[in-house]
């Protein structure tokens, strides 16, 4: 599928303080999101994730650069017709009921009355808000508001769904439900672009990710591409290790040996050294308890990138 989001040199400066000093919060960003994928936009707090999402949804205006959404320029109102957006910690008109609010959103998308009724009923079911549909929003809990936020983002049957920290503030059940809905959106052929700093969720959901730190794009690609080194570390656990073998094992390891209740833990940098260590251990009469390759997680990679940006 073709590109759904095409960002080219998009950047944003804010003016701060009494002297209106110009501060760049997003450095020129180039990014492409393809149709039908779940794209994770990662970064620590203050990295520029929300700024990017606000630029894409027209809440703030770019200092320079351009972006096309579903083939439309960012400035065109038509670009918004096929987009659903859930802001971070959404706030709604608390004097409205859930049903009234969804109806207002449907009207803003120009959805006709019968279709609006059907979609509202379906979305209230999907987000398990049917029982609270006619309650005023001031009586909704945070989780309920987050689910209503998702419902309003889907009222126009969008091709592209943009979610800003959708898991934020949700309990484990709520997070699981949100994950399931995001996966369902993908199976329905929609593109999902979401920002997050909850890495396990991103690892489970995303086809591709981008990592942003200090307003700059640090990395972008498929998870398998980003986590290039398949194994970083191999942990070998041995029992009945003769004391004469310990110096040889230490010479092969890239970290101090650890004496644990279930044996000696030897951390080896690669498979060649593992072979050598195994040969020596078996020849000396030691018993192999386990060999565990340590894979690089998204979290490891993320921390490395973010710490790199901080330095």
């Amino acid at each position: 599928m073709g590109p759904v989001i095409e960002v080219s040199g998009l950047c944003k400066d804010f003016r701060v303080g009494f002297w209106r000093k110009r501060v760049r919060v997003l450095h020129p960003l180039d990014l492409t999101v393809h149709g039908g994928e779940i794209f994770g936009y990662l970064g620590p707090n203050g990295a520029g994730k929300t700024t990017t999402l606000k630029l894409l949804t027209g809440l703030i205006l770019p200092t320079a650069g351009s972006a096309r959404l579903l083939g439309h320029d960012l400035a065109e109102v038509a670009a918004k017709r096929q987009i659903g957006f859930l802001p971070e910690n959404p706030y709604f008109y608390d004097y409205l009921t859930g049903r009234e609010f969804l109806d207002l959103c449907g009207r803003l998308f120009g959805v006709n009355a019968p279709l609006r009724r059907d979609r509202i009923a379906r979305l209230l079911r999907l987000t398990e808000l049917e029982a609270a549909a006619d309650q005023q929003l001031r009586k909704y809990s945070k989780g309920m508001l987050q689910r209503l936020g998702l419902a309003q983002a889907l009222i126009n049957d969008p091709s592209l769904v943009i979610l800003d920290e959708p898991m934020s503030g949700l309990d484990p059940l709520g997070r699981k439900a949100m994950r399931d809905i995001i996966l369902q959106l993908k199976t329905e052929g929609r593109t999902v672009f979401f920002s997050s700093h909850i890495l396990p969720d991103v690892e489970v959901l995303c086809d591709r990710v981008a990592i942003l730190a200090a307003g700059r794009l640090r990395d972008v690609g498929r998870l398998a591409e980003i986590l290039k080194t398949p194994t970083e570390d191999i942990e070998l656990t041995l029992q009945r290790v003769p004391s004469g073998l310990l110096p040889a094992l230490q010479a092969l390891a890239h970290a101090p040996l650890l004496h644990q209740p279930d044996g000696v833990l030897v951390r080896l940098p690669d498979e060649t050294r593992l072979d050598e260590a195994l040969r020596s251990a078996l020849a000396a009469g030691a018993r192999v308890v386990s060999i565990v390759p340590q894979r690089q997680t998204l979290e490891d990679h993320f921390l490395r990138e973010v710490q790199g940006a901080a330095r």
Partner: protein
Amino acid sequence: MRIAAIAWNTFREAVRDRILYSILAFALLLIGASVILAGLSIGQESRIVKDLGLASTTLFGTFIAIFLGITLVSKEIERRTIYVIIPKPISRPGFLIGKYCGLVLTLMVTVGVMGLMVFLLSGLVDGVLTPTLLIAAGLDFVALMIITAVALLFSTFSTPTLSAILTVAVFVIGRLSGDLTVFAEQFADPILRRLIWVMYLTLPDLGRFQFGSRVVQGLPLVPADIGMAVAYGLAYMSFLLLLAITIFQRRDFK
């Protein structure tokens, strides 16, 4: 449809606010009390009911216009409800016009209720209905549309408190605007005279909409004056809305 949706929602917000009912109840109470005051006068009953009734309509209408107008946009930003609306396919000018229309609709209903009460009470006291009272209330409503646009304009870039101060200032100067030209003639300094003239031409001349005293005195209303006042009101209101849209178009919702 989209502008109408925003307008309807703004109207719904106003009518679900208890404060609006308190203001309206107080205004109706004051208009009703004019009948008691009229009873204390000799031969001036009708005049007091009309005078006090129209003054109450203007006063409370202005209060509602300023009170709701100053928070029209700033509240959306402060409560972050705008984050859900702007990403929808409604243009920023469309959103602003929708908000304005919603408040104007609220004013139309409240001024309508107050004006109708004055009209019926004066009919009760007089024994005959005075349709020109409704025209005077209608022109008052046009003046309120300008006040609302002023409040909306300030609401697009400043805090509610500052907006309230500035709108009240414009309202007071606007009511006395007609006197400014007379005032200007008192000064010998041509620069000062020109400055007062510039103020007169820039700020809204709300005196143009005051037809109440003619109605109370039983004088006929000149259709051309009414037409001119309405045309002036609509032109001034459009100018203010354009200015508000220009500012709103450039705003970042951080």
